[in-house]
C-alpha cells in the first residue's frame, strides 16, 4: 500500500508552516510523528493534497516543567521521550504511567503527544490523560496564539476545533495546587492494539483531602469521556473506600461503551470501574506508607 499523490513541504519555520496551511485552503495536513496519518493515507482514508512536514522545525521537541509547576510538551516531543522522562516520573504520575502504554515501542520512537491529541482518535490514550489533568493546547495561526482546553479541543471522533491554517505548538498541563497523584491504566488485547478500555485519574491533594480531581476514559465512547461526576465526588474529601467506590461507580456510569470484538459493553464498564478503583486505592496505599 502507498498513499495517493500529494505535494510535500518541509519548512524550517512555524510561520512558513502556517502560510502553507493557509495556502492549502483546508486540503493540507500537518505531518509530525506520522504514526496515524501515514497509515490513514496508505489506506486512502486520508488523501491530503499537501503534506506539511514539521520535523525540520527546531525547538519543538521539548518537554519541561516551568518554575510555576506547569508542564509543557512541544509538538515534536515523542512518546519515547516521555516514556524515558525522569521529569515526568518525578512530577506527573498520570503521564508517566501512560507514556509506556502508547502503541508499541517502535511507534513510540516517532509518534508525538500533540499529534495524538490533534488526531483525536476516541481510542487515543493521551486525550484522556490530558483531559483528566485539565490540560490545554496552544494553537498558532496567522493572528497569533490562542489556548484551547483539551475537552473543548476535541469536537468528535477524529475531529478537533483547529482552523485549517492553525497548528498546535504545544500541550500544557496547568500548575498543580497540591501534591500530585494518580495514574493511567488500560487493557489492551496485545501491545499496540487499541484500548479495550482505559481510565486516567489525576489528583491534587492537601494531606488526605482531594483539592482537585480529574477522571477521563479511553475507548468507551465516540470520543474521550470526561467523567466529571466521578471526579466531583472526590473533591474536598479524603479517599476512604466508600468515596473510592462511589467515584468508580460514577466513572462506570459515565462510560458509553459499545459491545464489540474487544468485549461487551458491561465488561468495559467493569474495566473502567476497576481501573478507577485500583488507581485511587493505590494512592491511599502510598499515603499510608508515607504516614
Amino acid at each position: 500500500m502507498y498513499p495517493s499523490r500529494f505535494r510535500y513541504e518541509a519548512p524550517a519555520t512555524i510561520e512558513e508552516v502556517i502560510d502553507l496551511l493557509h495556502d492549502g485552503g483546508g486540503e493540507a495536513k500537518v505531518l509530525a510523528g506520522g504514526q496515524s496519518l501515514i497509515p490513514l493515507m496508505k489506506l486512502r482514508f486520508a488523501a491530503p493534497e499537501l503534506v506539511v512536514d514539521i520535523n525540520r522545525l527546531a525547538g519543538l521537541d521539548y518537554h519541561r516543567v516551568d518554575p510555576d509547576g506547569s508542564i509543557h510538551v512541544g509538538a515534536l516531543c515523542r512518546h519515547a521521550d516521555l516514556e524515558r522522562s525522569v521529569l515526568l516520573s518525578s512530577k506527573q504520575p498520570t503521564m508517566a504511567e501512560a507514556a509506556p502504554l502508547i502503541a508499541d515501542p517502535i511507534v513510540r520512537t516517532r509518534g508525538t503527544l500533540v499529534g495524538s491529541l490533534c488526531h483525536a482518535d476516541p481510542q487515543g490514550d493521551w486525550a484522556a490523560v490530558v483531559t483528566a489533568l485539565g490540560g490545554y493546547v496552544v494553537a498558532q495561526g496567522r493572528d497569533g496564539r490562542r489556548t484551547i482546553p483539551v475537552d473543548e479541543f476535541v469536537s468528535g471522533p477524529f475531529q478537533n476545533v483547529l482552523a485549517y491554517d492553525e497548528i498546535v505548538v504545544e500541550a500544557v498541563i496547568p500548575p498543580p495546587t497540591g501534591t500530585v497523584a494518580g495514574g493511567y491504566l488500560k487493557l489492551e488485547r496485545r501491545v499496540g492494539d487499541f484500548a479495550t478500555a482505559g481510565s486516567a485519574v489525576a489528583l491534587e491533594l492537601s494531606g488526605d483531602v482531594v483539592l482537585r480531581a480529574g477522571i477521563a476514559l479511553t475507548g468507551v465512547g465516540a470520543s474521550t469521556i470526561n467523567a466529571t461526576n466521578s471526579a466531583a465526588v472526590l473533591t474536598g474529601r479524603a479517599l476512604t473506600s466508600e468515596v473510592i467506590g462511589e467515584a468508580a461507580d460514577l466513572a462506570a456510569v459515565a462510560a458509553q461503551p459499545k459491545s464489540d470484538h474487544r468485549g461487551s459493553a458491561e465488561y468495559k464498564r467493569h474495566l473502567v470501574r476497576t481501573f478507577v478503583e485500583r488507581i485511587l486505592t493505590r494512592v491511599t496505599e502510598t499515603q499510608q506508607r508515607a504516614a
Binding site: M1, Y8, K42, I106, V107, T109, R110
Partner: protein, 179 residues
C-alpha cells in the same frame, strides 16, 4: 526511482515535484529522486535493492520493516522516504561486517531465534536499539523492547534467548576498563 509506483499505480505523476534526497544508508551516502509519497520501506527495497527490510502487515503493526533511523527503531513502512533526507538509516544489511556476523545475528543462529525468518530483520534491529541503550537487559526488558515486533512462528522464547545471548556475548567482547 521516481517511477517505483507507476506500473502498479494510477499512471505517472503529474504536477508533483520530485525531491532529491540524500540518505546515509548503512554508512554509505545514497542519493535518490523520490516522489513525496514514496515510503522509506519501498525506497530501501525497490529503489536501493536492500531487500532485507521486509514489509509484513504494511499497516504499522508487525514491525518486520523496522530499521534504525538515526540509531532509533522505526517502522519504515510508516515513514516517507522524503523524511529521511539528511538522516542515517541502518538496515539489516548494515549489521554484519564483511567478515563476521554481528553478535545479535550469532545469537539468533545459536539459540534458534528464527524459523521462517520473515520477522527476523526487524527483530534484530529492535534488539540492536535495545542493546545500544541498555547493554544488560533482563528478560522482561527484552520482551518489552520487542513488543512492537510480531513473530508467528517461534512463540518468542528463542528470540528472547537470542537477544540475551547477544547481550552476554557483547559484554564479554567489551574490554574491561583500562585495557
Amino acid at each position: 526511482m521516481t517511477s517505483l509506483y507507476e506500473e502498479i499505480a494510477d499512471g505517472p505523476g503529474e504536477g508533483v515535484p520530485v525531491r532529491r534526497v540524500m540518505i546515509t544508508v548503512n554508512g554509505e551516502r545514497r542519493t535518490a529522486d523520490v516522489e513525496p509519497r514514496l515510503l522509506l520501506a519501498h525506497l530501501l527495497r525497490q529503489g536501493l535493492k536492500l531487500t532485507g527490510t521486509h514489509t509484513g502487515c504494511d499497516t504499522s503493526n508487525c514491525g518486520a520493516c523496522t530499521v534504525l533511523f538515526d540509531g532509533k527503531p522505526i517502522k519504515s513502512c510508516t515513514m516517507l522516504a522524503a523524511q529521511a533526507d539528511g538522516h542515517e538509516v541502518t538496515t539489516i544489511e548494515g549489521l554484519a561486517s564483511a567478515s563476521e556476523l554481528h553478535p545479535i545475528q550469532e545469537g539468533f543462529k545459536d539459540e534458534h531465534g528464527l524459523q521462517c525468518g520473515f520477522c527476523t530483520p526487524g527483530m534484530m534491529l529492535a534488539a540492536k536499539a535495545l542493546l545500544d541503550e541498555n547493554p544488560d537487559p533482563d528478560e522482561d526488558e527484552v520482551r518489552w523492547a520487542l513488543s512492537g515486533n510480531l513473530c508467528r512462528c517461534t512463540g518468542y522464547q528463542n528470540i528472547v534467548k537470542s537477544v540475551l545471548w547477544a547481550a552476554k556475548k557483547m559484554h564479554a567482547d567489551t574490554p574491561a576498563d583500562g585495557n
